[in-house]
C-alpha cells in the first residue's frame, strides 16, 4: 500500500513535467529573480543589476559560469550551479530577457565628492598612472558597448568586489581589466564605483 502510494506520487509528478520552466524568461522569473529581481534591478548589493545589460556580455558571462572559466567566489557559490544545466537556447533567452529590461536608477546614496572624483577618472582616465578613460570602452554614460558591459547604476559594492577580482586570475576573459586594475589605487576604485552607482 505504501509503495503504491509512493509510486502514484512519482507518476503524477512525472506526468506534470510539461509545465516546467523551459525558456529563459521563465527561468529568469522563477529563479534568477530571487537575487536579481524580476526586472533585473537588484537591490541587494551582493548581486549585480542586470537590467539593460549588454546582450553579448550576458551571453559571455553565462557561458563562462557554465564552463567554470569564471571562478571568482560568487561565481562558484551561486552561478556555477545556476548555469550548469542550461543549454545555449536558454542562455540566449536569459541574456535577451535581462538585456531588454528597463534599468532603473540605483537609489543607494553616494558621497558627492567621491562620485565627482570618480567621474573625472571615468571620463578622462589618469594618463600619469597609465589608466585609460573607462568611457572609451564602457560608453560615455556607462551604458556599455559591444566590447564592454554596462556599468551605469551598478552597485558600488559589487563593482569594487569585481575590480579586486580582476587583480587575480579568476576572470580570465577580462584581459583588458587585468591590466587596467594594476594602475588603480584603492581610492580610485572607491571613487569610480561611487560614480558609476550614481549614473542614471
Amino acid at each position: 500500500m505504501k509503495i503504491r502510494f509512493a509510486l502514484c506520487l512519482i507518476a503524477l509528478s512525472a506526468a506534470w513535467q510539461t509545465h516546467a520552466a523551459d525558456t529563459g524568461e521563465d527561468l529568469a522569473r522563477q529563479w534568477c529573480a530571487n537575487c536579481h529581481t524580476v526586472s533585473g534591478n537588484s537591490t541587494q548589493p551582493m548581486f549585480p543589476r542586470l537590467a539593460g545589460q549588454q546582450y553579448d556580455y550576458l551571453l559571455q558571462q553565462l557561458q563562462a559560469f557554465r564552463n567554470k572559466s569564471r571562478h571568482d567566489r560568487a561565481a562558484h557559490d551561486y552561478m556555477w550551479g545556476m548555469t550548469a544545466a542550461l543549454d545555449d537556447a536558454t542562455i540566449e533567452g536569459l541574456a535577451r530577457y535581462f538585456s531588454t529590461q528597463k534599468p532603473e536608477p540605483n537609489p543607494a546614496p553616494v558621497d558627492d565628492a567621491l562620485a565627482n572624483a570618480g567621474k573625472q577618472l571615468y571620463q578622462n582616465g589618469n594618463p600619469a598612472a597609465g589608466t585609460p578613460a573607462c568611457a572609451s570602452c564602457h560608453g560615455a554614460n556607462a551604458e556599455g558597448t559591444a566590447i564592454a558591459p554596462r556599468l551605469a547604476g551598478q552597485h558600488a559594492e559589487y563593482l569594487t568586489k569585481q575590480l579586486h577580482v580582476f587583480g587575480t586570475n579568476q576572470r580570465p576573459a577580462a584581459v583588458a581589466m587585468q591590466e587596467i586594475i594594476k594602475t588603480l589605487k584603492e581610492s580610485d576604485i572607491q571613487a569610480v564605483t561611487a560614480y558609476l552607482q550614481s549614473v542614471r
Binding site: L9, I10, N34
Partner: protein
C-alpha cells in the same frame, strides 16, 4: 533496525566522509544537485537565506535529479554540567561522545516533486543501570521528513509558489527559522537531555509530536510576500506508519488536528524581514497506546519574527517566537485544573563574519499555570513549570559543511524556582551546561 555497536557507525561515517569529500567537492546532496555552495542557501546550516527559503518552498526541485541523492551528518561532542552533585545519572559528563549520525535521502525527484528524508542513529539512547548510572545504547529511527509536490507560476505581475507537504513534524516544513523544528538552538546537548536537566515543560508544538505524526498541508507563497499554509495532522500509523518508524509514540493524535501558518515576508537590499503566526489544535489521547481513549485538547498559538542583514562579510540575524498554549484536560488526565496555560518565548541574535566566525546570544523562557498533578517534576515549587535561561554560543566553520561550536546554556530559574528545585538542594544554575560540539554534513 538496530545497530548495537556505536563504533561501527563511527567507522562507517568516517569512511563515507573520506570517500565523499574527494568526489563531491565536500557538498551534501542539495549542493550536489544544485551546484550551489552551502552559503547560497544557509547563513550557517540549518538557518536559511532568502534563496534557501525559495529552494525549500520549491520542493527542493532546483537542479538536476541525482542518481544517488544521499547525504550524511554526524555530531560529536563533550558536555559538562555545572554541578553533577556526585549523581551517577550524569554519565559521560566531560567525556567525548559520538552523539548521533544521520542519513538523508534528499533532493529533486522530478520538476514538481522533491523530498527531505532524514533517518538518525541516536548513539545515546538512555536506560538506567541498577546503581543509578545511565547506560547508553544506539538506536536507529526515522527523523524529519518532508515530501513536497509543488508548482511555481512566475508571470509579469504574479509570482506564486503553491504545493503540498507531507511531513512528520509540525513546523518542519517551515522556511523561517523561527518555528520549533528548525528554530534556535539548532543543536543542543543530547546528554543533557538524557540527564533530565534541560527544560522540562514546553508547548506541544515544541517538538513533542516530532516523528509521531503525519501531516498533509497545502501552502501558497504569493509574490514573495504572503505565505499561507493550512494542514491537518494525524497519528503516523497505517499508510503513514513509516513516518514514525521505530519511534515510541508518547503523544498520540486522535482525529482531526488542524495546523496553520501565515506570514508576511519582505526582502529588500541586504535586508530580509518576516512576521507571522502559526499554530495547531491537537487532540492527544490520554493513553498513547489506545486509539479512542479520552483526549486532552491543546490549542497552541504562536507569533514569530525574523530579521536578517546579509552582506559580505557581515551577517546579522535574529529570530523570535512566542507560543501560547492552552490545554483543556480530560478528567482521565488527573489534572488539578480543568485547563492550564503554558507560554514559551525563545529568541536569539547572531553575528557572523565571513560566514565563518559566529557569535550567538539567545534566551528562553517558559511560564505557565500552577498544576502539581501535571507538572510533577516541579513538586518543590508546588507545580510551577516556569524555566528561564540564556545561551551564549561561539561558532567556527572549519568548512561551510563543518562546524565547531562552543555553547554555554545558563539557567536562572528551573521548574519554578532558582534554588533547591528538587528538594535536595539542587539549584537552577547547577544545570548550566558547557557544550563543545562538532557537526559535519557531507
Amino acid at each position: 533496525m538496530r545497530i548495537r555497536n556505536g563504533r561501527s557507525v563511527f567507522v562507517l561515517l568516517t569512511l563515507c566522509l573520506l570517500g565523499w569529500l574527494s568526489s563531491a567537492s565536500a557538498l551534501p546532496a542539495f549542493a550536489r544537485q544544485t551546484g550551489e555552495a552551502c552559503e547560497a542557501c544557509h547563513i550557517s546550516f540549518p538557518e536559511l537565506t532568502p534563496f534557501g527559503r525559495l529552494f525549500k518552498l520549491s520542493g527542493y526541485t532546483l537542479g538536476t535529479t541525482q542518481l544517488f541523492p544521499v547525504s550524511a551528518m554526524a555530531i560529536v561532542s563533550d558536555t559538562r554540567a555545572s554541578n553533577t552533585g556526585g549523581n551517577p545519572a550524569f554519565s559521560r559528563n566531560g567525556e567525548p561522545t559520538i552523539e548521533a549520525g544521520s542519513i538523508f535521502a534528499a533532493g529533486r525527484i522530478s520538476d514538481h516533486l522533491g523530498l527531505f528524508s532524514q533517518w538518525t542513529y541516536n548513539n545515546i539512547t538512555p536506560s538506567t543501570n541498577a546503581d543509578g548510572s545511565t547506560r547508553y545504547t544506539g538506536s536507529f529511527a526515522v527523523d524529519n521528513n518532508d515530501i513536497r509536490v509543488v508548482d511555481h507560476i512566475a508571470k509579469q505581475d504574479l509570482d506564486l509558489i503553491y504545493g503540498v507537504s507531507l511531513n512528520n513534524n509540525p513546523t518542519v516544513q517551515d522556511v523561517w527559522n523561527t518555528t520549533p523544528a528548525f528554530g534556535y538552538p539548532y543543536q543542543t546537548s543530547g546528554l543533557a537531555g538524557t540527564w533530565g536537566t534541560s527544560t522540562q515543560y514546553t508547548p506541544l508544538l515544541n517538538g513533542a509530536l516530532a516523528h509521531q505524526v503525519a501531516g498533509l498541508s497545502a501552502y501558497a507563497f504569493l509574490n514573495k510576500h504572503w505565505y499561507l499554509e493550512l494542514g491537518n495532522y494525524q497519528a503516523a500509523e497505517g499508510l503513514y506508519g513509516i513516518l514514525s518508524h521505530d519511534v515510541t509514540i508518547s503523544n498520540r493524535l486522535e482525529g482531526t488536528n488542524p495546523y496553520w501558518r501565515f506570514a508576511w515576508n519582505n526582502d529588500w537590499g541586504p535586508h530580509s524581514l518576516s512576521v507571522g503566526t502559526f499554530g495547531m489544535q491537537a487532540h492527544v489521547n490520554t493513553d498513547p497506546t489506545q486509539s479512542g481513549s479520552p483526549t486532552n485538547r491543546y490549542l497552541d498559538q504562536g507569533v514569530d519574527f525574523q530579521y536578517q542583514y546579509l552582506t559580505d562579510p557581515h551577517v546579522i540575524t535574529t529570530q523570535w517566537s512566542l507560543i501560547h498554549e492552552r490545554v483543556n484536560w480530560d478528567p482521565a488526565a488527573g489534572a488539578n485544573n480543568t485547563s492550564d496555560n503554558l507560554d514559551s518565548l525563545q529568541g536569539k541574535v547572531s553575528y557572523w563574519y565571513q560566514r565563518k566566525y559566529g557569535l550567538t546570544l539567545g534566551m528562553f523562557k517558559t511560564s505557565g499555570s500552577t498544576d502539581a498533578a501535571i507538572y510533577t517534576k516541579a513538586a518543590t515549587s508546588g507545580g510551577v513549570p516556569d524555566t528561564r535561561g540564556y545561551i551564549v554560543e561561539l561558532d567556527y566553520m572549519l568548512q561551510p559543511w563543518w562546524r565547531l561550536g562552543l555553547q554555554y546554556t545558563g539557567y536562572n530559574k528551573y521548574l519554578g524556582t532558582s534554588s533547591n528545585y528538587d528538594g535536595n538542594g539542587r539549584n537552577a544554575r547547577d544545570n548550566n551546561i558547557t557544550y563543545l560540539y562538532t557537526w559535519l554534513a557531507f
